[in-house]
Amino acid sequence: MKKFIALLLVLLTLVCCVSCGKKEEEEENPVAEDVVIFQNENVRKAMSYAIDRASLAKSLNDGSVAAEGIIPFKLASNPVTGQDFRDEQGAIVAYDLAKAQEAYNAACEELGKKKLSINLLYGTNEGDSVIKAAEQIAYYLEEVGFEVTLVAKQKKERLSLMDTGDYDVALTRWGPDYGDPQTYMDLYISYNKSNNAGRYNSAEYDKLVEEAEATTDPSERWSKFLQAEKVLVQKDYGIVPVFQAGGAMIIRPTISGIQFHSAAVDNYRHIVGQDNVTLITNTDIVYLDYQYATDGTSFVAETLFTSGLTELDADGNWVLDLAESYETNADGTEYTFKIRDDANWYDTNGKVVRTVTAQDFVDAWDRIMSEELASDYSWWISDVLLAKEWTAVDEKTFKVTLEKPNGIFMACLAFPSAFPINKEFIDEQGDQYATTAETMLYCGPYILKSWTPGYSYEFERNTNYYFNSDYDAAGTAKKIVFRVLEDTQTALMEYEAGNIDTVILSGEQVTANKDKEGFVNRLQGYLFYLSININHYDE
């Protein structure tokens, strides 16, 4: 008994120590003392001009490129001319040490300080490139005179600190959800408390973005976005874009047809060249339920086994998929889709369960929008597709009414959040739905055969899928296996040994394998930028 009491006491003391330790930590501010310096425009200007983005991107050595604005390359193209947003706008950030120095000196004078201190927050588990970039940014800022302290935190904690405004400057990123400038522009509207962590507040910017989103004229919308980006980045220095992420990998030269999209889900549905293809993924599927998933890995898997009304081709343009044909009214606010007669639901053994109906789309959109599901992507239907009403006219006719014309509507139907569901199957499965290959139904070109969490997931070609018969001659992959593997060194050995067909490269491996056949330096949609805490201290 004595021993037990002693043990209890020791543990209680431990608990007390831990809680006290925590309090002390809270008092230790992740914010440098000069809380108001970021309201000074010259401080932000100095930061923007101080960073040598080209050298930084080059040193990351993974296909990353210097940012020229907040909108990444290959995100969206002009609805009239087809020109890329980035090319049309040109570079609106620059590296100019003299200007940076001048702005820094002016800021010091205006603030009455000899030296300006910044705490630079970044995530330690967000990839090597983030750590490298943070260190280099600190170096560039110190070049003009800033005193920089690096604050390294786990990603979740970084986001939590940004949520509460307990930071100065943070290296953060945004992955676009769809191929339109709006996916970035929405983030910095003054009343977007979820994403505008620094509380950048500009009436001019708000107005431009609101007008762009309200107009029905595509080219007016486009030009408003061009102006808005300039206000945010070039006029106000509200954020400081740094680099657009790349990704170096090797793909076995015998296979082709993997379609990378920088602003949409990568498409693995058309791989040809080998019967069995084994791909490496460094993260596992988080959730098979595509109405719940939020991560890229899950989305890639989901677009293999489920289809929507459209899909994206290699160039990122939409083509009809489960929809056989569609009609739209004169002002583009009503769309009527005819669903293919041969679109079916299959179980994991490839057995037909029943046909895909218009009601399946209605059920899907109702379910994702329901509060009960608390889906993270419910806004896809309401804010991206701009859908107001959706009905099943008859078994195979699905009709959608939009709030206003939407140029990206057809392309955004290719995203898993807009895919159909089989409601009676979901109800039947209850809590078990989407936890294994057996408790899921499929309507895509591949069928999930098995999923061993943390290890691998395997797909088999759905031979009944309408486009697969066309591909038979071309040699579509019969089996696609995704193997979860984080270590890039063993992955490279496994690739060399011929056991896997793709390998993601990091660090020195990129230089060593640059000339290898099958080496790809893909550009991703992620744009890394410095979020500056301008107004979030006061709340």
């Binding site: 037990f4 608990v15 979740k156 904690e157 986001l159 993270d376 290890y455 060399e496 040994a497």
Partner: protein
Amino acid sequence: MKKYILQRVLISLATLLVILLVLFILMDLMPGTPFNDEKLTQAQKDLLFAKYGLDKPVLTRFFLYCKNMLKGDLGVSYAINKNFAVSGMVKDRLGISIAVGAMAMTIGTIAGLLLGILAALNHNSWIDNLCSAISVFGVSIPSYVCALLLCYFIAYRLNWLPILYNVEQPFISLILPAVALSVSPTANIARFTRSEMIDVMNSDYILLVESKGVKDWKMIIGHVLRNTLIPVITVMGPILVNLLTGSSVIEKIFGIPGIGRLMITAIQENDYNVTIACAFVYSLMYIVTMLFVDILYGVIDPRIRIAKEED
């Protein structure tokens, strides 16, 4: 002896309960939440908090958790495999980690004891020096370096064994990870065995045994080894737990879906239920192993058994 064991078991149970409470409090103090995600709005975060009952006070959640745990329900994962039962996740991965760990421990114990005994019997000879060199080498080289060397030479160059873990041939594909993991325990056990054995061999009672004319091998097995093993078992307990609960690095290199990796990911993702379950399993195994070691003492060493009975 029975009373002693009963007492130890009760203390162990109480310790586990306290550990669970501490874990809960620590989780609560951890910065961030499982739902810190740039794509989630505050309203959605609140909904998720309410959905999983995380808006309730720590103690309420603790009692609820204990109640569910008695039913074998460890909650669901919030971030790693959303809505998956944690008990299933832990069970699947623990099995693999235990398999690798047990293999590594077997290799480590046999190799370590052999090296240690060999060194002690040939004290101050070149064999002793060689064994010591191997031990120092084993202690100082991290397991992931060994793992990569083994991968490169044995699997990639010579193609004798598979590089990655393969569900279809678990035994063959777990040999390399087990060997890589066993390097450090081998070295530790060898060093410990050697020094203990040298001590025992120089003790008075062994001199007595020797002078009584007991044959060499009989003396070594019956007297020297038996006395050497007691302290060696003490160090083996924690080593065993360490191996059984998985090594995050080795699992990462060989692509093994084990519990070590799961725990690290859970901590990074703030996946409370998974972290608590993994840490709890770790504690449970540690306590059970220590209990087992304690009981084993009594079996090996009559002095301890008698002392405990008198206590």
